[in-house]
Symmetry: C2
Subunit: 311 residues, 2 copies
């Protein structure tokens, strides 16, 4: 059955029947708006859109995978503010000949990823469109803490990363060369493992700046450097190249550091901390905040680059 055949309201019924709701969802889908708990009396909100052919391909990722990744991209933004995600809203634009199963499995993936952090899909909208498009808005709660913004990095701070770097980019390269293995890398692209809890942890530890790594480590650190009016120097040796990544890089003729330093889509978190902070294991020191501007690798410019969604 196609989404055109079942119609807007039929599809909404099918999808919402598969959803479950966390305690923060005070009123779920089915009305003009959802109602979500905001105990902090402030709400963190972020929107990310995925467009077929640009952010995902149906022959590279299943519907559930796309759901996981669409949710992860947004939930990571909430975590990067130091907040705990509470809810997702999803605008889904679909060709009318899309199988309803695809939309249903997408919803399963979105809901499963949200459930990892106790959040739920509380609402959304659907429309026909020639271009399969998924726009997700995530909400989150700061739990009484100040948001950790990009502009607070100060010279002398330590730069640290929580989560994987380069795995998703490696997986994407593998897929784009027509391969399906190594599975570990391909799965890292399909369903990023985001260290959600590390965001609020960093806020409690006194992080001075934080960002979600979606466009590539150096590109995203560049946003922190610009917003903070500082330079950031990253130590290449702080990143271990896992065996499977090294093997894949050799087989594909790629420098694995181009994945680690410039690849996006892992949705790791990067933050800066005062030197006095004792970092827990989840936050690996990878560099230092310095006077100046821009991002360097071991003191030198790096020619890799991140991702511009118009180029």
């Amino acid at each position: 059955m196609s989404v055109g055949g079942v119609g807007e309201f039929g599809l909404i019924d099918r999808v919402t029947a598969r959803l479950t709701y966390g305690s923060g969802c005070l009123l779920g889908p089915g009305d003009d708006g959802a109602v979500v708990a905001a105990p902090d009396a402030r709400v963190v909100a972020s929107t990310d859109v995925l467009v077929e052919g640009r952010h995902f391909r149906r022959d590279w990722s299943g519907a559930r995978d796309v759901g996981h990744r669409a949710a992860a991209a947004n939930l990571a933004d909430i975590a990067a503010m130091g907040a705990t995600p509470t809810a997702l809203l999803v605008a889904l634009c679909m060709p009318t000949d899309l199988e309803t199963a695809w939309a249903e499995e997408l919803a399963d993936g979105l809901a499963a990823e949200a459930a990892k952090v106790g959040a739920s899909v509380v609402g959304g909208d659907m429309s026909a469109s020639p271009t399969l498009t998924i726009a997700v808005t995530a909400l989150g709660d700061l739990g009484g803490r100040a948001p950790v913004v990009r502009s607070g990095a100060r010279p002398g701070d330590v730069v640290a990363v929580a989560g994987r770097s380069g795995w998703a980019a490696a997986g994407l390269t593998v897929l784009s060369r027509g391969f399906r293995t190594p599975r570990l890398l391909v799965e890292a692209y399909r369903r990023p493992e985001v260290p959600y809890a590390a965001g609020p942890h960093a806020a409690r530890l006194g992080a001075t700046a934080m960002i979600d790594i979606s466009d590539g480590l150096l590109a995203d650190l560049g946003h922190v450097a610009k917003a903070s009016g500082v330079g950031l120097d990253v130590h290449r040796d702080a990143f271990e190249v896992p065996r499977q990544m090294r093997d894949a890089a050799q087989a594909l003729g790629v420098d694995p550091y181009s994945w680690i330093l410039a690849g996006g889509d892992d949705h790791a978190l990067a933050a800066t901390f005062p030197r006095s902070v004792a970092l827990p294991d989840e936050w690996r020191p990878v560099g230092r905040v310095v006077e100046g501007a821009g991002v360097t690798v071991d003191g030198e410019k790096y020619d890799g680059r991140g991702w511009d969604h118009f180029r």
Copy 2:
């Protein structure tokens, strides 16, 4: 200059430079997430998506008009819950050859419509896409009141409407027949006049159910009837046909009541109230809640229908 030429970050800079922020915006665009005041400790959230060729046409509406309408559709959903809108987030997908001026004027329209209720555009995302698509999420605050849901209508309640009915549908018919006048109707389609304040007013008056009329009065009242397990009977004579609508209907060979009863896009509000409530002028009684199911017009079935976004 095209959006492809100026690039993602260049366009974000251009657009955000045009925005202003209300007092509810605690942290605006430029970080991983925005922070919005939620004084009620609950947040109302709603998402609506507009797809070119399905929800708007660039030859029928200017970019500013589309911005006004995209914002209005979402802000009306918040009002229909009895809440006051606080913020919008906007995911904008654009062909790379779109002029940057179009995106900038769209943002102007979104911001101007939001400003009418003291809300602001606090964040969003942009991507290239073959299909021009605007997904908007609106947030709002309940001010300590219970949300007014669709399921509370009780037999004996009065059905009332705030705002215009049929004007936008008339304007759309005018445009679809290749005309540009009467201007009053065309403008009603391009920039709906939503009675935002009537939403929270209705909540304070004790409305038992409420909905935003986006798919057509009878279709949307049908959602209330279904959710509440009641019937709704609408009195046709409660709707006056304005002179310009009557003239246009005659010229185009259309029954003006098909616009009033089945036309969408005005984003008027419909609500049900206990009979004991003294309705202010902004809420016009148009019918009665009855035992049974479905929506009737003067006791009879009406063959007009609302809008399904897949048909």
